[in-house]
């Protein structure tokens, strides 16, 4: 019964009133804090500050509860507070048992809070549901249950609450009644529907919205033909970009919120598995989009579980191996090239490769011959196959058949990726890589059957042009299935228009197709589309349930031209077309092997500089290919120079392209010069230069041969099975141009 207050505030079952909501949010936050402190307390049992913090959390709950009239909660909190009081006063020592008891107290409090949130009441009838727990707390305190002293008056508790609040980052509302604490709303309260936002960010957003409105007004008044229209459009663009960035910033949550749950979990796990584990964190402040944080919660939990259960050995084994008995689990978060990386690292035994291979063969995931030929790296990838679990015995913790394949699927669902690294006897590192934000996805817009579709860039490996006239040669068939031979690997081809039952274009009018090589959930396949449109940063809009049911589209987006495009779910499309993950995995492994065998193979950019001669440059030397109006090229001492991003680049013009173009220019044309911007791939940014070419032809792989004795500047290479001549340039010895002789 919600007892004394029932007739005053009449809590409605449907809606929990504002006061209670705030209380719930605040209490959850207190309990979160308590959870963190409790696990720390185990390491530093004498830390008075920690004890104080825990005490305050429980005390606050008890105080406010009394005020709101939740009897059951108050009773439990009181028992806990009493125990904590004894602990704080040094009458008791924080033993492992005691901490377990306190953790149970916390769970108990959470359960009641959850009940209140759901039903609006704490659901007690007899008032003795927590009798057992209270008795246990009393026992830990060295009392019998009956000996609990009288409950303190709520007034004192409120003073105490105020003090806690003073430490909170959010300023207090001046006129707030004691129980109306300013809401530093925890994201856990009210089922993750609330978010804590910096007031500054909110103000900035408001300012930007104001500016947006002003710009719109001006645009409406001036109309399309006005002289200042381009200026207004530019301003609109910049305001929108700023606004977007600010909103994204507001959605960012520190990863620490997620990490906070792990010390407790690891502690419990370590106890059940009889391990000794210490948890270390770094980069808790790294921001991640809230929805992404939610999405990686389960995969990360799974990874941490694995690390404790399978990774870290039992203390005895560790000592035998010459390691400290206590294992260490490190959780790291950091930014790396536009994504957030979260690492789960343990210093355990590492993943036993033979066991992995053996298991994979047992489960028919690979053949015995394949297994024996696999490198360590390839073998490690096997753990991501569905239905793979190396746990010798099924423990309560892991080994229930859901394994790393689920982790990978979940992370890939949000556009991320998973890697694993393992060193025998030293440890295992699992790396989750997730994009910064979910709502805006870089993608490529393609056309098929007259409709536009968006493919997320994260799944896109490469694009291949399939001209109509070469179609018959490059597409190979086994039975009815079509395959594309891409660098000696057979890639299953999926026709998007056929898969979706769209009307295909007439073959006669079609100028050919494009093959988008996609990879998701371990499947690699080529999606055949009619046309490629521009790459766009798209804003993902959810689809209605009926359309989600189709299962092939993860959302829709409005394109720059105002049309809608459906976003293709790359993984689901593979499944629908019957592309099997294992196939993809194996062919990938095969490809890697090949790569390892031909380690000397390099990708070359092939282009034409002198008329009708083909020359090549190693691809990693070329930074960009630019089209520059001839007028922008300047001369100093007879040498051509290009001002490029604040740098003066010397240009090489082997084929006298510039002179020819200057002639053309004198005849009134304004030709564009194709310039390869070359950097030194090893030392980066020193020794940059440009190379003037007639046209870029292709990218292809080749092998470097030994130096040609006849000419100190030349080297030989095989590109496309033709002998090529190479000469060294710029004195750096790294930038080389390759010239065809055969």
């Amino acid at each position: 019964m919600v007892a004394p207050h029932d007739y005053v505030s009449a809590p409605d079952i449907q809606s929990v009133d504002e006061l209670t909501k705030e209380f719930l949010a605040e209490s959850q936050e207190g309990l979160d804090r308590m959870e963190r402190c409790l696990t720390e307390l185990e390491m530093r049992p004498d830390d008075v500050d920690l004890l104080g913090e825990i005490f305050r959390a429980v005390h606050t709950i008890k105080g406010t509860t009394g005020f709101l009239g939740f009897d059951r909660l108050e009773k439990l909190a009181h028992a806990g507070e009493h125990l904590l009081g004894a602990l704080r006063d040094g009458k008791l020592v924080a033993t492992s048992d005691l901490i377990s008891g306190l953790l149970r107290l916390m769970d108990g409090l959470r359960a009641i809070l959850g009940l209140i949130e759901e039903t609006g009441s704490e659901g007690t009838r007899a008032g003795d549901e927590d009798g057992e727990l209270i008795a246990e707390l009393a026992r830990l305190n060295g009392h019998e249950a009956e000996e609990l002293p009288e409950i303190e008056t709520p007034q004192i508790a409120l003073v105490e609450t105020g003090r806690v609040q003073g430490e909170a980052p959010v300023a207090s509302r001046g006129d707030a009644s004691p129980a109306l604490q300013p809401v530093a709303v925890s994201e856990k309260a009210s089922a993750d529907k609330t978010l804590r936002i910096d007031v500054d960010v909110l103000n900035r957003m408001m300012n930007l919205v104001g500016e947006l409105v002003l710009t719109r007004n001006q645009m409406l008044q001036s109309g399309m033909d006005a002289a200042n229209f381009p200026e207004l459009a530019r301003r609109l663009d910049s305001v929108t970009a700023d606004l977007r960035e600010t909103v994204m910033q507001a959605r960012m949550q520190p990863v620490g919120n997620l990490f906070g749950k792990f010390p407790r979990m690891v502690r419990d796990l370590a106890r059940t598995c009889a391990r000794e584990v210490r948890v270390e964190f770094s980069g808790q402040e790294t921001g991640l989009d809230k929805s992404l944080l939610e999405a990686i919660k389960d995969p990360l939990t799974h990874a941490v579980r694995n690390a404790v259960d399978h990774g870290i050995e039992s203390p005895a084994d560790r000592v035998l191996a010459g390691k400290p008995a206590e294992g260490c689990l490190r959780l790291k978060a950091f930014h790396q090239s536009g994504s957030v990386v979260i690492e789960v690292e343990d210093d355990g035994a590492g993943i036993p490769i033979e066991r992995v291979l053996q298991k994979a063969v047992e489960r028919n995931l690979v053949t015995a011959e394949d297994a024996s030929a696999m490198s360590e790296r390839e073998a490690l990838q096997l753990i991501f196959l569905p239905g793979f679990s190396t746990a010798a015995a099924v423990t309560t913790v892991s080994g229930r058949g859901v394994g790393m394949d689920v982790v990978r699927a979940n992370v890939e669902k949000v556009g991320g990726s998973v890697e694993v690294e393992s060193r025998r006897g030293i440890g295992t590192t699992l790396r989750l890589r997730v994009p910064l934000t979910l709502a805006i996805v870089p993608s490529l817009v393609v056309k098929s059957g007259g409709q536009s579709f968006a493919l997320p860039q994260s799944a896109l490996v490469e694009l291949v042009d399939l001209p109509q006239r070469e179609f018959a040669q490059v597409v190979q068939r086994i039975g009815s299935s079509e395959l594309y031979r891409l660098r000696e690997r057979l890639l299953p081809m999926v026709w998007l228009d056929r898969l979706l039952g769209l009307d295909a274009y007439q073959p006669e009018t079609s100028k050919g197709h494009y093959l988008a090589v996609l990879e998701a959930e371990g499947c690699r396949y080529g999606l055949v589309v009619d046309d490629l449109m521009s790459p766009e940063e798209i804003v993902v809009k959810p689809l209605s349930p009926v359309l989600r049911e189709i299962g092939l589209f993860s959302g829709a987006t409005v394109l720059g031209n105002g049309m809608l495009a459906l976003i293709l779910d790359v993984g689901a499309t593979a499944a629908r077309a019957g592309v099997k993950p294992v196939e993809g995995e194996l062919s990938e492994a095969g490809g890697e092997e090949e790569m390892a065998q031909a380690a000397a193979e390099i990708s070359f950019l092939i282009f034409e500089d002198r008329a009708r001669e083909r020359t090549a440059l190693p691809l990693d030397v070329v930074e960009r290919i630019e089209s520059v109006p001839l007028g922008q090229i300047e001369y100093a001492g007879g040498r051509p120079l290009l001002q490029y991003r604040g740098e003066l680049l010397p240009l090489r013009d082997e084929g006298s392209v510039l002179r020819e173009m200057e002639d053309a220019r004198r005849q009134g044309e304004e030709p564009l010069v194709t310039v390869l911007i070359c950097g030194n791939a090893d030392t980066q940014r020193t020794q940059r230069g440009g190379m003037v070419v007639r046209q870029v032809l292709d990218v292809s792989t080749g092998t470097l041969l030994e130096q040609d004795a006849a000419n100190g500047e030349m080297e030989l290479a095989l590109v496309k099975e033709k002998l090529m001549q190479v000469h060294r340039e710029f004195g750096a010895g790294v930038k080389v141009a390759w010239q065809e002789v055969a």
Partner: protein
């Protein structure tokens, strides 16, 4: 039947009985939807069809930062595609999801008297019984009342009456 003038008097007298209906047309028939259940009339819009979706869906259309799923009234009635352009109405009921209804044309707001509403005839087939909610006897003929709640895409797919036609994809099976 009564004389026209008499009817008018009747309507004026019974103002509490009056319902404001939006009239709309599909395949030459007139339908009506309570105006309180219509959020907006979008007019003619380019619809993007969604491959593999049920036949009764006309496609999606951008609407105020959302992607609106639209239901094709003609397809529900078993009519072929409309030759001209179609008109989109946005339905909004507090409890239900927002969706669009595609019709041939929208007439205007008409006042109808609740007393002129007749129940569905008992001879109506199952689909009609689901779609129609009686008819108003208007001067120009019958105006069949539609209940937007029963027209929402998720309800339509739940009820299974209109499921027959998830077209396409026949040749997309992997073993082909």
């Amino acid at each position: 039947m009564k004389i026209g003038g008499w009817e008018k008097v009747d309507e004026l007298l019974e103002e509490s009985d009056a319902v404001s209906m939006c009239s709309l047309y599909a395949g030459g028939e007139m339908f009506g939807i309570d105006t309180r259940k219509i959020r907006e009339v979008l007019g003619e819009k380019d619809l993007q069809r969604v491959p593999m979706s049920p036949q009764f869906l006309a496609g999606v259309v951008p609407y105020r930062g959302e992607v609106l799923t639209t239901v094709n009234l003609r397809a529900l009635l078993g009519m072929g595609a409309h030759s001209g352009r179609s008109c989109v109405l946005v339905m909004d009921d507090e409890a239900e999801e927002r969706f669009g209804l595609v019709v041939d044309a929208v007439g205007g707001v008409v006042m109808a008297s609740r007393r002129r509403l007749e129940d569905n005839p008992s001879t109506l087939e199952a689909r009609g019984r689901w779609l129609f909610d009686g008819a108003y006897k208007m001067e120009t003929g019958l105006m069949v009342q539609l209940d937007p709640r029963k027209l929402s895409p998720s309800r339509l797919s739940e009820v299974g009456l209109f499921k027959d036609s998830s077209k396409g994809g026949a040749d997309a099976s992997p073993d082909r």
